[in-house]
């Protein structure tokens, strides 16, 4: 065999057998893609467990957010207006990531860099917004009551995913600048985009559960 697969999924090419290299790459790409989609599936199960626990807790108390006698004083609802604003920031980053990948496929490096930068900035903006919300939420902290515990656990877990996603995107961006990916072989960017979309979609559910329901 005239080719070997690198750690990041590229193929060292000795220039003798491009067709065989392509078959090897496509087969390994398909397997890695299936593995990555299954990984996202396990994350869906993780979030679903917490979400159904939240729904159970919510329905086990007559008033939500909890009031007396469950807690000493009636807890306020969360700030929907700010959450709507912060949600758009995150959804916007999902769209910019999608277009970053599209520009990569079409060999438009300048716009790829622009959209990657926008995605990372918006992701960091969302995390900043979440930190602001944590600092100003008057719901009794993460260990004060079931509402606070549910809110900080679920949104905190999501925030960790966003943080990991931002680190992932920065690593991918560095890799693109180092020449790891080509216009034909860019599985890492595909995985990063799918992960980022997944994080956005989880927030759709959390936004509805905590702010609109």
């Amino acid at each position: 065999m005239a080719a070997s697969i690198t750690a990041h999924g590229g193929v060292h090419d000795d220039g003798h057998d491009h067709g065989h290299d392509e078959i090897i790459y496509q087969e390994t790409r398909d397997m890695r893609l299936m593995g990555f989609v299954l990984f996202l599936g396990t994350d869906v199960v993780l979030f679903s467990s917490y979400i159904f626990a939240y729904i159970y807790l919510r329905n086990s108390i007559p008033m939500w957010p909890p009031g007396p006698p469950v807690v000493p004083a009636q807890l306020p609802r969360l700030d929907t207006a700010f959450a709507a604003f912060n949600s758009v920031v995150l959804f916007g980053s999902g769209v910019t990531m999608h277009y970053a990948l599209e520009h990569w496929k079409h060999a438009n490096r300048g716009r790829f860099n622009l959209f990657m930068a926008l995605t990372i900035i918006l992701g960091l903006g969302f995390l900043g917004g979440q930190a602001y919300e944590y600092a100003h939420a008057q719901i009794g902290g993460w260990n004060g009551n079931t509402f606070g515990a549910s809110f900080f656990t679920l949104t905190g877990m999501h925030g960790i995913h966003v943080f990991i996603g931002v680190c992932f995107l920065i690593a991918l961006w560095i890799q693109t600048r180092a020449g790891v990916y080509t216009q034909q072989r860019f599985f890492g960017l595909t995985a990063g985009t799918l992960y980022w979309h997944f994080v956005d979609v989880i927030w759709v559910v959390l936004f509805f559960l905590f702010y609109l329901w």
Binding site: L33, V37, S87, F91, G92, Y99
Partner: protein
């Protein structure tokens, strides 16, 4: 103008813009059939739905969407 109203206006306009570009992206993906393309279609569609939720929240249409 109250800060909450400014946030809602920005969120509303942003949601419309993001929804539009999500739909354009979804349209571009529509004819593709790979596993990653299909997952992207699903996730982009759900993200566009999230924008609809934000718009509804801005107008207070959902039960607690207008609560600050």
């Amino acid at each position: 103008m109250e800060l909450a109203n400014i946030e809602k206006i920005v969120a509303f306009v942003g949601a419309l813009v993001v929804f539009f570009f999500a739909c354009v992206g979804l349209r571009g993906e529509w004819h593709k059939t790979g596993l990653d393309d299909n997952v992207t279609k699903l996730l982009l569609g759900l993200m566009a739905f999230g924008c609809v939720l934000v718009v509804l929240a801005c107008f207070g249409v959902l039960p607690h969407g207008g609560a600050a």
